[in-house]
Symmetry: C2
Subunit: 236 residues, 2 copies
Amino acid sequence: MLKYQQIAAEIEQYINQHDLKQGDKLPVLEQLMSQYAVSKSTVTKALELLERRGVVFQLRGSGIFVRRHNRPGYMSLFSTQGFKSNLGDRVLTSDVLDVSVTKPDETVAQNLGIDVTDDVYHVERVRFVDGEVLCHEESYYVKQIVPYLNREIVADSIFDYVQSALGVTIGFSDMYMQVGRLNATEAGYLGLQADDPTLRIETIFHLTNGKPFDYSRITYHYEHSQFVVQANGPYM
Amino acid sequence: MLKYQQIAAEIEQYINQHDLKQGDKLPVLEQLMSQYAVSKSTVTKALELLERRGVVFQLRGSGIFVRRHNRPGYMSLFSTQGFKSNLGDRVLTSDVLDVSVTKPDETVAQNLGIDVTDDVYHVERVRFVDGEVLCHEESYYVKQIVPYLNREIVADSIFDYVQSALGVTIGFSDMYMQVGRLNATEAGYLGLQADDPTLRIETIFHLTNGKPFDYSRITYHYEHSQFVVQANGPYM
DNA sequence: TACTATAATTGTACCGGTACAATTAATAAA
DNA sequence: TTTATTAATTGTACCGGTACAATTATAGTA
């Protein structure tokens, strides 16, 4: 683990342990430098990371402050999107409906940047938070990158497996979201009625080298899905 | 304008002018350094900015590459949230329904971190993209921070006014989103039926010093609102 | 007391450098 | 030709430093 990541983790831990709230001040830069015995730029980088994650904000001439959103029941949009964070003490489980190797249709192939003759893993799940239906998910993994999957792996976190067992690292993702109505099949999975509202998110996950390796379509249960997104300034 | 912001802008311009696509390679770091006659760290900072915005991705040992999502009709979620970006050539207009000074109710006061006796500007608009109804927006501005607003300002970009005329800078924001059904009033504004699906986003905008200054509730027309969110790696 | 000018605090921009890890290209071996 | 080894390329981590801008605290003045 890199120094600045380590320090970021420790600072976050410090915030949690001391139960700091929105606006509370952290030790000044120079103290953090000596405390962790690293250079200024390393501390700065750690704080930058925390700033992006929405944990702190920095104010020149004043100090470093804790940033906290205080609305219970809202998950980070990214936490349900492969990135583990801010799920708190909620438990995420899955019913696996299908794990199989198939050929992608035209749309899937295009989103993954592969040919329709290439193999993909098809994974279909219903996901739960604390026992309540969260969403129905259908995703496609490029078999050339993810050569093996089974129901056990898929029941847990696929991303953890991919990163640790296969040694590939996830780089970035593009999420496309829209609101619509459920069809009968989807309604069945989610325990809702057809034509009920829903949030649909399609996501293309890329490796660090820019290659897409996972295309997923998620249909959310509109009553059990509330998301928070923390944005940083006009540069987003 | 800061150097690294300037360089970021120029690099982005370069990408657009040369119509570079996903995966196309940019000049290497060292060349960018000499080309813009700045140090390595400045170029790095510019690229970091572009990476966060989803414009490029960097691959150690390999180079700097263009990152592009290629799905027309999707707006950046942040572009409709005060941050001007990625709206492309779409035209954003507004019907102003109300601009007035009032007292906040309990909820609004709490979200803005003020007292119910403090003054707020109440702004209500219906917003359009290329003439089509996008959303209904109701927002509250802390009058102590935004002392004056009128229909003209509000018809245009409030954020531009606040930043340029008042000299305050927007720092960060927390967005809370959920899916639900329209009530009769909202449906009227959006030209839809009651009980139609909708995306609701509440946002609290903070200044750089962490003080909330705008709390807004937006109700989106589900057929005209498709959003893209670009995420960067597991650190989000 | 209230306001103003001044000084101390504190994070950010920017520079330049070394070491290194990941990728890719070049070379040698099978 | 293919594969393994080596070397060149290229971005990232980390160091340390100077100058500066924004904030906050202090001292001075009316």
